[in-house]
Amino acid sequence: MPGGYTGKILRVNLTNKSISQIPTEKYEEFGGGHGIGSAIFFDLVGDQLPFEAFDPRNLIIMMASPFSGTFMPGSGRCEVQGLAPMLYPIEWFGHSNFGGRFTAQLKYAGWDGIVVEGAASEPVWINIVNDKVTIESANGIWGMDTWDTQEEISRRVMPQLKPGEWAELSDSYTTQVPAVVCCGPAGERKSRLGALLHGPGSQAALCGFGGVFGSKNLKAISAIGTGSVPIADPKAFMDARLWFRQFQWDVDNPREPEKFAGRGYSLISGAPSGGNVTNGSLPLIPARAAACASCPRGCRMRLASADSNEAVCAGTMVVSVRGNQKLTRQGNDMMHKLGLGHWQLMPLQGYVNNLAQRGLLGKGKQIDIDLPFDHRGTFGFWEILLRKIAYREEAGNDMAEGCARFAEKYGLLKEDLSKGVIRLTYWGTQEHYDTQTEVEWGFGSLFGERDLMLHMMANYPLHWMAQSGNPYLTAEEASKLYTDAMVPYNGDPYMIDYGDGPTGIYSDSKIKQVAWVKHYEKFWIGAGGFCGWRWPMCITNNTADRRGPTPHAEPRFWNAVTGKKGTFADYMELGHKIYTLDRAIWNLQGRHRDMEVFPDYIYDQKGRGSILPMVVDGKWTYATGAGRTLDRAKVEDFKTRFYKFEGWNPENSYPTRATLEKMGMKKVADVMQSKGKLG
């Protein structure tokens, strides 16, 4: 095998308790992570689709990448894939990922990934210690919250481990503790909000894979290893890592600190610790920046109070305790302990309040649940609400089905979604940024299976740079520099024109941007295990010429690790291939172009806008697009051209045989044809 791979993927069947291996070489053409995961999913169950997410046939695939376990900057994520119970109206083949050190330990243990199939007859967890893999009883662990689970499993895996000492693992040694990923009480109860937790606050929050764990009677997976990740060209890899320093925030001597210093700017600059939004007012709680494996940013924190440790963004703010940061931190910790996914809890809790105000929800109401609304916004209110959702008490049982299905049960979904009362804009997941303006996020989500959740595509570097009020590039400069990096479509500055003129949001340039986003998402983020808060980096404030490491860094690192010789464009085409495979799987589940429409409010209600580069009256400027609505006919035309661009049949969005065979996926075409889904 080339460098970066351990050569084998762990396959665990919980139904018959068998443990076997899949040679990574069989799927090497898909790169790693998401690419290999999609290919394995298709091979094992593609021809059986459609079936439901809680069917034992569903798979949990957790793939590492060739970068996992190396010091490739910002590559410490673990990609999780499978049919996703959170997504609506169909439980699409989805993906979620989490940071930390799980994939690193998995690689050191000698595995490129894990495929879990079937369902255990009683609660179990999977124990990976180097080559030794066992299915253990979860007796005494099932029922625990996610923090206690991780602590107990660490104790069971390495009872000999003492903090700050070496521990022996079959004549090799480590100072590290096992990396555990688990579901909480919510997942055990097959909640569609069920998240996977690793550490105190790192969630795979989207898709409801905690619920899939629960459906399989799988409480946790633990990995610890003492092995190595082989590197094809160590000298080149080290040189690349040191070369990359110029793009990092210089913690001792940052560029233009008067302009870029401060935690508020850290989204753009990559300065440490800014991901935790609950420790920013005086007096500050003493804390460190806490990085995922290999990340030079360290956006998380660990605090002297040990609350909100390693949680970021929504993981520190969805549970908002009015006027009290300490209780807000602890409230979000409660969410993590219960294993509730923050990105679904956010619209759900807002909807609960909305329904209460409308007189539809409350004790003895149509939606019967006893919640102390007089104390809304207090820790006590949150605790009652979260526990009722996690433990499926009263109407919490319906809420555990996710926001869309909850609304649907009470006959409210159609109207409330249409009017934007609940903004489940993308397949049952919450709208993130203004869909009418930041359209590549909207289209990228609609042409996917859930919220895009990739801030570094354009959101941080462009929107938040401008939102800061002091952008370091003019709109015209940004359009040139940013799109210079967008190989192979570089040279077209209108790819980031967010205006609604002829070169704007419905243009062929925008089609290229959406395609670029999806291809980058599938290969570099998905197959490479990159963090969406770090990559891509088309521009940066950390260099004199404001150019970021994209598109030079990605292939430089990939080739040094694997020994391959591909170009950035080559790997982007692999991203196109993976995206097309995902599309084929969705088609087999029932996806048709007619389903890929936004809720009515996107077309009928004026958007709030999002400041971005736009061409207005023929000139580049920063503007918000506030008040804009999308045009149905133009969106449909955009879809037609996008499908064609990707090699899919514009009538139904199905990939064509020519496209699939050109990509080397003849067997996918054959299955599609047998199911009547070939484009």
Binding site: F71, Y173, I231, P234, K235, P257, P272, S273, A291, G298
Partner: protein
């Protein structure tokens, strides 16, 4: 057979290779050293840094790694740079610097950094029975291990007074390894050592490891754990004491929007 054991010439004895088992079965450091001395003729000169009386002094290292455990973010880049440059692979277990952390712990006790201290009194050198651990007087007196002489007895590992021990077990080669300040880094294009660069220092994104030439305080464990943070770090909102106000926040507080509203007149 004529000669019997006596037939084993002095030269043969001198050339005798001592296996790891020779030491381990002897039951510990002292026994192993005794065995070596008893069977080694005087003219089969031991390496310069062979087991020596405790009172023997060693020239101090001309370089040390100090660190700031409050600045470390736990990304393990230093560990992976160490294993990569020395061994050509990325491995936490083969790293000569160890970072240990507890995700659930309380700052600052949630993390420990453990590079080799290049001790003034190098216990590993003192106790190595074969002279594999030695003071490299040609290269800034760095305390090193010559892998060609290491027999894998783990004496240096057992004798290292630090917790965790800074001599590291290479389970691939069955030998001990330790920090050499990057003197021998075959997988790095840079020159290492006290007069060169160190992979962990160069790669640390938080600049939490520093090479110094002045000998750190040997009497305190914390002598190597120093403050490498400046105001730019504080301005990230990362303080080690709640009474500290980052300069940028103090500056912001002077702006009108942060001025307290005047009290309403009674």
């Amino acid at each position: 057979m004529p000669g019997g054991k006596k037939a084993e010439s002095e030269e043969a004895v001198a050339k005798k290779k001592y296996s790891r088992r020779d030491f381990l079965v002897a039951g510990g450091t002292v026994a192993a050293v005794d065995a070596l001395i008893a069977t080694t003729p005087a003219k089969a000169a031991l390496p310069a840094a062979s087991p020596a009386p405790a009172e023997v002094s060693y020239p101090e290292s001309k370089g040390y790694l100090v660190y700031d455990s409050k600045k470390c973010a736990g990304c393990t880049t230093c560990m992976l740079a160490c294993s990569l440059t020395h061994h050509g692979v990325q491995s936490l277990s083969l790293s000569r610097i160890q970072i240990m952390q507890d995700s659930f712990g309380k700052f600052p006790n949630d993390l420990q950094m453990a590079p080799c201290r290049q001790c003034v009194v190098p216990v590993c050198v003192q106790n190595c029975p074969t002279g594999a651990a030695f003071v490299d007087t040609k290269n800034g007196n760095v305390r090193r291990i010559d892998s060609s002489k290491c027999i894998g007895c783990k004496t240096c590992i057992r004798m290292c007074p630090q917790q965790p021990h800074r001599t590291v077990w290479n389970h691939i080669d069955n030998k001990s390894i330790k920090c050499d300040l990057c003197l021998e880094t075959p997988y790095w294009n840079e020159k290492g050592g006290p007069s060169g660069k160190q992979a962990c220092v160069e790669s640390c994104p938080m600049k939490a490891i520093k090479f110094v030439t002045q000998t750190p305080d040997q009497t305190e464990t914390d002598g190597y754990d120093v403050n490498l943070r400046n105001d730019h770090w504080l301005n990230l909102g990362l303080v080690d004491n709640s009474t500290v106000v980052p300069p940028a926040m103090a500056q912001m507080a002077k702006r009108p929007m942060f001025k307290p509203k005047p009290k309403p007149k009674q």
